[in-house]
């Protein structure tokens, strides 16, 4: 039996994920969409915390909320005038979007409900940073040096690519 606090926390998190996600894709002001996204990301970070992945939650906040959303905001400011509303959606498009989304929801929801019901949260020790670091740097089984290096190269490439693409000619 969970504590009431954690249930309330869960409900808040789940609701904010749902609400902000819906808002992020339905609002007609792009800057607001970015803000809603930010809240959804925070809520996700909260899920990570609640599942005892503190490091991951921290990364989520730092990279996503702190980095990506800021990028979004800058780019929005660069490409649109504040107060612009995006055009109303054509109903055909909205219907097709809704069909896809609801079909997805139904099919996946059916699978989830029929298969994943009743898996309780097992006990888990909180993961300390040292272990994370060792795993990331190790080369043994279940250790991630190679992907880490690959990610580093990728990020470097992205930096260069971003500069090249966005550079003024």
């Amino acid at each position: 039996m969970e504590s009431v606090g954690s249930i309330i926390a869960y409900v808040v998190i789940a609701l904010s994920i749902i609400i902000f996600s819906v808002l992020a894709v339905t609002t007609r002001k792009i800057l607001r969409a970015a803000t809603y996204l930010l809240f959804a990301l925070f809520a996700t970070a909260a899920i990570y915390f609640s599942l005892d992945y503190e490091f991951l939650g921290a990364v989520q906040i730092a990279v996503y909320a702190g980095g990506i959303v800021v990028l979004f905001v800058f780019s929005i400011l660069l490409t649109s005038h504040p107060g612009d509303n995006s055009a109303r959606l054509a109903s055909k498009k909205r219907v097709s979007g809704l069909i896809a989304a609801i079909a997805m929801l139904l099919v996946s929801g059916y699978v989830l409900i029929s298969r994943c019901i009743g898996v309780a949260e097992p006990a888990m020790q909180s993961i300390d940073m040292q272990k994370v670091g060792a795993t990331l740097m190790g080369t043994g089984h279940g250790e991630y040096l190679l992907p880490f290096e690959a990610i580093s190269v990728l990020l470097l490439a992205c930096i260069i690519g971003g500069i090249v693409v966005a550079r003024k000619r």
Binding site: S96, G97, I99, A100, A103, M104
Partner: protein, 694 residues
């Protein structure tokens, strides 16, 4: 006989053609005429020597010990080998493969034709030097070209008559057709000349199709093209010398008869072959129904008409039948066809000639009629028997008569044409309505023309009398019906020729327009007239029965007056009477201006119309070629090609295009669409999987 002379006979005209054709425009016009004429003169001399040697030298190559004339192959080289020679193990040739050879076959008819061709050709060359100039003596434009073409024609015609094999004949047959085309269309700026030349070529080409197929059939069965293998046997002990033999022809016939399929559509294959070959002859010799090109061919310059369309090329058909005569003799059904075609054409052409206004057209139809005489004469020739009048008819009399008539007709018809040319040159029109009463102005032309008319009408002692008499005798020997038919045609001939003569030279006094008074032409034009008139007077005495017979065996003895001795006087009297009646009727109607012709015409309007319009053959042909072949065959085919065949091909392209346009929407480039489709696809797959698994 060494072969340089025959080679030269062919080479000189060819060389002259190339010389004038390639370099003609760099030389003065008159020069071209001189070169052409003198080259032809040399050829004339060489041909005369050759013919004289053949007929009178007594050389064993040319005449056998028994007095039979032989065929000598002077030279013969392979030009195109179709099937290889079959060689046995020892390297000996077992059987010669099929090959076109080019060579020189000297026998009585080719020697005779050499004389005819070179004589007429030389006369025409000479005459053209005057004719192809205007009244101030300035040469016409294209003078060099004209002589080049004449040389080409002479070369081709000489090559045709000396052919050693039927394919060589076909080759030169086509070449004379082409040179005829070029010469008819000499005045190429005149649309009528252009269409006439086209017509001549295409009609004869159509006939040649039959000729070609005939050759193919004949050569398939016999395995050879060579005349010497088809009709002759080699003479013992001499190389390349042959004697015409009925036995060989009989052997050929047996090859056909013994083959697996001797009959085709009821007639024997050999008859088919010969009739198809004869079809080629019909085209060139303007036999009905392939005669329609010849009257139009008169669009060419008149000397050309004299050379090609009166004396030489048009008798090629007769020559062809004569060349293969032993084969025809073996297949009398083919000969019957020759007879019928000839007889019908003779009457038809004679009737039409009575109602023409253009003097050259009259002469053209007269030519058709006279050639038909030769054809009939060949057609009625059979082996020896007794005729209806109780006379012994010699084997091959008709053949001899035919060749005889060919010879005499060439002379007097060339004379008539050249005379007509002189008139046209003087008057500037082809219609007799523009002439009338010219006898005082152009005496030389008048007298020579009269001689020509007498000769063609068959009045003793002019050339036509003898040859026509022999023909009629041969006809009587075969069938009384045809004999009477041909006698009537002979009468008609006399009538229409004298109608022409009187309308040109008598009828009424000539009206002189302005300063231009018609007069005789310069010597280059009158000299040939006089020479040909002289020949027409004496040619009848040439002992053809001795010189030219189908198997080389003389019918009559040698000597100058033998023709008179050998006349069948019964026939001669009949034909003379008929001819004189014809002349008298013509004289009555046309000597002085009188209303009789007009009355006749209004009395028989239908007949006049039909004759005047040549029985509407041209209209019929026009209908067939334009309305049926062009409009009903060619145009639908062209339409079919563009719309059905090409349309199908295009519709493949259009269909592909439509399909890709239809599919193109899927590949819209909009990532959102892709995602949508992808997602739904994945979901469907998921559902399907679930339904299957669960």
């Amino acid at each position: 006989m060494e072969s340089t002379m025959p080679v030269l006979i062919l080479a000189i005209p060819l060389f002259t053609f190339l010389l004038l054709g390639l370099l003609g425009k760099f030389m003065q016009r008159g020069m071209a005429g001189v070169i052409g004429t003198s080259a032809m003169g040399i050829t004339l001399v060489l041909s005369y020597i050759t013919a004289f040697t053949y007929f009178f030298s007594g050389n064993p190559l040319f005449i056998s010990a028994g007095g039979d004339r032989l065929q000598a192959v002077i030279f013969n080289t392979v030009w195109l080998q179709f099937t290889p020679d079959q060689i046995d193990a020892a390297g000996q040739i077992v059987k010669h493969g099929l090959a076109i050879k080019l060579g020189f076959l000297l026998d009585s008819i080719s020697a005779m034709m050499l004389v005819v061709i070179t004589t007429i050709s030389f006369m025409v060359h000479l005459y053209s030097n005057g004719y192809m100039r205007d009244h101030h003596g300035v040469c016409e434009k294209g003078f060099q070209r004209f002589f080049a073409y004449l040389s080409l024609f002479s070369f081709s015609m000489l090559g045709l008559v000396v052919a050693t094999n039927i394919f060589q004949m076909y080759i030169f047959w086509e070449l004379v057709g082409a040179s005829s085309y070029l010469l008819i269309g000499f005045y190429y700026t005149k649309p009528s000349a252009v269409s006439a030349s086209k017509k001549a070529f295409i009609v004869t080409r159509f006939a040649d199709l039959g000729f070609l197929i005939g050759i193919l059939i004949l050569s398939y069965y016999t395995g050879t093209f060579n005349f010497t293998e088809l009709t002759s046997v080699p003479v013992e002990g001499l190389n390349d010398v042959y004697a015409v033999s009925a036995g060989t022809a009989e052997h050929i016939r047996s090859i056909f008869a013994d083959s697996k399929a001797p009959l085709f559509m009821g007639a024997s294959v050999m008859t088919w072959a010969l009739v198809l070959i004869f079809m080629g002859g019909m085209g060139k010799s303007a036999m009905m129904p392939l005669h329609i090109w010849l009257p139009d061919a008169m669009e060419g310059p008149t000397p050309v008409s004299a050379l090609i369309h009166a004396a030489t090329m048009v008798v090629a058909g007769v020559y062809l039948v004569a060349r293969l005569f032993p084969l025809f003799l073996m297949q009398t059904s083919a000969l019957d066809i020759v007879t019928v075609v000839g007889a019908v054409t003779a009457l038809y052409a004679a009737m039409v000639a009575c109602a023409q206004i253009d003097i050259k057209r009259v002469l053209a139809f007269s030519t058709i009629s006279q050639i038909a005489f030769m054809m009939v004469s060949l057609g009625v020739t059979r082996i020896a028997h007794t005729d209806a009048l109780g006379h012994e008819v010699h084997e091959g009399l008709g053949y001899m008569a035919s060749m005889f008539h060919l010879f005499t007709h060439a002379m007097f018809k060339a004379l008539l044409f050249l005379g007509a040319g002189a008139l046209i040159h003087a008057i500037g029109s082809n219609d007799y309505t523009a002439m009338h009463g010219l006898r005082k102005y152009m005496p030389v032309t008048h007298w020579t023309f009269l001689i020509g008319c007498l000769a063609i009408a068959g009045i003793i002692p002019f050339a036509g009398f003898f040859s026509k008499d022999e023909i009629l005798t041969a006809c009587f020997g075969h069938s009384t019906v045809w004999a009477i038919w041909m006698t009537l045609v002979a009468g008609l001939t006399a009538f229409y020729m004298f109608r022409l003569y009187f309308l040109i030279f008598w009828w009424k006094e000539h009206k002189v327009h302005g300063e231009h008074v018609p007069h005789d032409q310069p010597w280059t034009m009158t000299l040939p007239l006089i020479i040909l008139a002289a020949i027409s007077c004496v040619a009848g005495f040439v002992p053809f029965g001795n010189l030219v017979t189908w198997n080389g065996h003389p019918i009559t003895g040698a000597g100058f007056f033998t023709n008179l001795d050998n006349l069948n006087w019964n026939v001669a009297v009949i034909s003379l009477c008929v001819a004189i009646i014809g002349i008298l009727v013509a004289m009555k109607m046309y000597r002085k201006e009188n209303p009789l012709p007009e009355k006749m015409r209004s009395a028989l309007p239908r007949l006049w119309d039909w004759c005047h319009h040549r029985f509407y053959w041209d209209e019929l042909y026009m209908f067939i070629t334009h309305k049926i072949i062009f409009d009903r065959v060619c145009k639908p085919i062209a339409w079919f090609d563009r719309h059905v065949i090409d349309g199908t091909m295009d519709s493949f392209a259009t269909m592909t295009n439509r399909l890709s346009v239809a599919i193109k929407g899927l590949q819209s480039g909009r990532i959102q669409n892709y995602v949508w489709v992808y997602l739904l696809g994945a979901l469907v797959l998921a559902v399907v999987t679930m339904l299957c698994v669960l």
